[in-house]
């Protein structure tokens, strides 16, 4: 009897753990460990949110994956004093945000306003969970929003999400190195030298030869991805069938050339080595200093990625003022944040007003881009704002009207000093109208991510090209059971 009880209780524990873990994020545990320590569950609970709502105010729940929109939320409270914006930030490094958001769909926990990143905005726009915001289109036309800002948020003629940014891509290069290897650092002349992909490859060889292999043309193969993906002519999924555009083949070919010829530093995008290259602190395993000539980054890459990383942590080396920006070999766009209203919200009117304020309000967009939202400004509205919360000047906004008005103000700004006097805003303004998002689909992100591992194996030489495609198709099948894969 005792044995039976023991067996039974063990089975209970076992089935309980299995049952519980099938739903929650599972944990590895050779012993009885509650699923509470699952890493994906941690961030939301631990991240600071604004304190409980003040009495007598209407609460608006806003969810996002960076702290950017909190600035908008505080600014919104200034014009709408009776509103309390409760801001929840959940990172999306490994898809935590998407998972959390998905889990609230159809429940009471659903937020009122959601931020949607380029990687998954389409799957929400294509779903039935976002409210119709088409009636704001006249406003968008009035502000001459770049088409891609609302095209992405539109499906079957119904617009459900708007963006406050436009995100054309660019090529950033080091002025001092350009002078050394090409005899000029002038953006116009450099654009002529790096104007298409063949020229870019040829220039990579020049950089390698003249630097004796100490300077790499790019830091990682990840830099190339968006560039080529944005220039495809067919989307990934055509009539429910997985489709490979010739541009994708061209991408594979190009990254292979870069790897095999040592034009690429073998860093991983968003990892230490990749950032180290931005401030000249990159060292190989023997301790030799290595340099990176250029980075493919979009509009937001300048204020959020390149500028913050241009000085090394110990302050010993800096590249501030040594950068310039050009269109580069191919025009492209990368990323962007869209805002939508959940259909199930109880604050529909207020939520719509919030989206309008963030994305289609000329004054707010101007303030956003020109650095009006300093920490002091935000603290004056809500003293609980964190000390590092502010919006630096230079984010590229989605309204052509605003862009035209403020471009000149960047002629002598911090950002143009960073770029050796170049006004990047003007360059982005020229590139923005060419950006289109026709090809964007909800499944893009997963399909593209699935290619990373097989592609890296191919670059390492551990699999052949054919094996790479097979591995990729297996991985895609894994996540899209319904897709037809030739």
């Amino acid at each position: 009897m005792k044995r039976l009880l023991f067996v039974f209780s063990i089975l209970l524990i076992a089935s309980m753990m299995l049952g519980a873990c099938a739903k929650a994020a599972p944990t590895e545990a050779p012993a009885d460990v509650p699923p509470a320590d699952a890493p994906t569950d941690v961030p939301a609970a631990e991240l600071p949110t604004t304190p409980p709502p003040a009495e007598g105010k209407t609460v608006l729940n806003v969810w996002s994956f960076t702290n950017e929109i909190l600035t908008m939320g505080v600014a919104f409270e200034k014009t709408h004093p009776d509103v309390d914006v409760i801001y929840t930030m959940i990172p999306m490094t490994n898809g935590e945000y998407q998972t959390k958001l998905m889990a609230t769909l159809g429940t009471d926990a659903v937020p009122d306003v959601v931020a949607l990143e380029a990687a998954f905005v389409k799957s929400y726009v294509e779903s039935d969970f976002l409210a119709d915001l088409s009636d704001m289109m006249p406003l968008a036309e009035e502000l001459k929003m770049y088409p891609f800002v609302y095209e992405v948020g539109t499906v079957d003629g119904i617009t459900k999400a708007y963006a406050y940014q436009a995100t054309p891509g660019a090529l950033f290069y080091r002025r001092s190195l350009a002078k050394e290897y090409f005899g000029t650092d002038d953006p116009v002349e450099m654009q002529a030298i790096l104007g298409d992909m063949d020229k870019y490859v040829a220039a990579a060889e020049v950089v390698k030869t003249k630097s004796n292999g100490d300077t790499f043309m790019v830091a990682s193969n990840g830099d190339f991805m968006n560039l080529f993906y944005a220039n495809r002519e067919q989307p990934w999924v055509v009539d429910d069938t997985l489709t490979v555009d010739p541009m994708v083949d061209k991408m594979v070919e190009t990254v292979k050339i870069f790897r095999d010829n040592g034009y690429e530093a073998k860093a991983t995008q968003w990892q230490e080595g990749w950032f180290a290259g931005m401030n000249d602190s990159l060292k190989d395993a023997e301790g030799n200093a290595k340099k990176i000539f250029s980075y493919f980054l979009p509009t937001w890459g300048l204020p959020y990625v390149l500028a913050p990383n241009a000085t090394s942590a110990d302050g010993a080396s800096t590249t501030v003022g040594d950068w310039a920006v050009i269109t580069g070999p191919l025009p492209y766009q990368w990323g962007g944040t869209w805002l939508g209203v959940m259909k199930d919200t109880k604050q529909a009117e207020l939520a719509r007003e919030f989206v309008r304020f963030c994305t289609l309000d000329e004054e707010n967009l101007t303030n956003w881009a020109t650095g009006v939202y300093t920490n002091e400004y935000l603290k004056a509205i809500d003293p609980n704002v964190p000390d590092d919360q502010y919006q630096a000047a230079g984010d590229f906004v989605g309204s052509q009207v605003v862009v035209e008005k403020i471009t000149a103000s960047f002629d002598d700004s911090e950002l143009s000093k960073f770029l050796g006097g170049q006004n990047s805003y003007g360059g982005f303004a020229a590139a923005a109208p060419t950006v289109n998002a026709r090809l964007m689909q909800g499944s893009d992100d997963a399909i593209q991510r699935a290619l990373n591992d097989p592609l890296n194996s191919y670059l390492e030489g551990t699999v052949t090209l054919d094996e790479m495609w097979t591995l990729w198709k297996d991985a895609v099948r894994n996540e899209f059971p319904e897709l037809i894969i030739p």
Binding site: I10, A31, P39, A103, Q271, A285, G442, A450, D453
Partner: protein
């Protein structure tokens, strides 16, 4: 008499009620729901899902990657569990041995257990940075002439598999040691005294006294570790790209389940199918362990009596 008996039972039920309710709500219902979902094509982005019969399972068993995941899960678990049990047994014998009298047992126990308290995400991030291409391991190895040039460890299936096994071992051997030690210290000293009087060697005492008496603890460790091992998720998930890279070498069945769940549509039907297969597999092996390690003495006792 009748009355008092009734009362006793009534309070008994009251006392077990919290567990039973908790189990029904958080154990049985999710289990039932998972099984029910596995026969549908439900996604998170669609409000309704349709019954599709065994389609999810057919797709699963037609998928080579799924078998890779199952094999990985088993090999990663066995490779960390066998050394884990060995080391734990050895340490337990040392620390409970009355002749060795190792000092500071409590401190050692705490040190062994410490890695278990660290957050898996922190450990994964730490090891990822250590072994990255521009990381300290490469710098040290190359400068000490142990490697001719930097190696991309993160892209090497063998290294990453070894790392997962090592981290799992390192995080859990303390736990196992503590359990075995608890089992060993509960054995009455008089049994050992009797063995010593009978002239048993240390090995004989271990083999014929300790091992049989800690069998219930061993079964517990084996089963809980099996259940945990079959659900291995956090370290392999966080160590690389969350997709079992490089070359699916650390793709476990639970990572596969999670990938289906977090795909852009949130295929919970297909994800549940993976969960159900893992559940059936784990239950079967757990029952097999009970069967193989069952007490055979009951039968003998009966024979003697009859």
């Amino acid at each position: 008499m009748m009355r008092s008996n009734y009362r006793k039972n009534y309070y008994g039920y009251l006392f077990i009620a919290p567990f039973v309710i908790g189990f029904l709500v958080f154990g049985l219902y999710p289990l039932y729901n998972t099984i029910a979902l596995s026969f549908t094509n439900t996604t998170m982005m669609k409000a309704d899902g349709a019954f599709v019969g065994l389609q999810n399972f057919e797709r699963l068993f037609a998928d080579k990657t799924f078998f890779t995941a199952i094999t990985n899960t088993w090999s990663l678990w066995l490779m960390n569990f066998i050394p884990q049990l060995g080391i734990a047994l050895l340490l337990s014998v040392w620390f409970t041995n009355t002749r060795l009298r190792i000092k500071g047992g409590g401190i050692w126990r705490m040190l062994f257990y410490m890695p278990n308290l660290l957050m898996p995400s922190a450990i994964a991030a730490l090891y990822f940075s250590l072994f990255s291409y521009y990381g300290p391991v490469n710098q040290f190895m190359v400068r000490a002439d142990l490697l001719p040039e930097a190696v991309d460890f993160i892209r090497s299936p063998d290294v990453m598999r070894g790392l997962v096994v090592f981290i799992q071992w390192w995080m859990w051997f303390g736990q196992t040691t503590i359990l075995i030690m608890a089992g060993m210290t509960s054995i009455s000293v008089s049994v050992y005294e009797a063995a010593i009087i009978d002239g048993a060697s240390i090995w004989q005492m271990f083999r014929y006294v300790t091992l049989p008496l800690i069998k219930p603890v061993m079964i517990f460790i084996l089963v809980t570790s099996l259940v945990g091992g079959m659900q291995m998720f956090d370290i392999p998930f966080l160590l690389t790209d969350g997709r079992g890279s490089p070359a699916n070498s650390i793709l476990t069945s639970n990572i596969m389940m999670y990938m289906r769940f977090r795909s852009s549509q949130g295929h919970i039907g297909a994800a549940s199918a993976v969960g159900v297969v893992v559940f059936i597999m784990t239950s079967f092996v757990a029952l097999l362990i009970f069967y193989l390690l069952r007490e055979k003495s009951d039968k003998k006792v009966k024979e003697v009596r009859s």
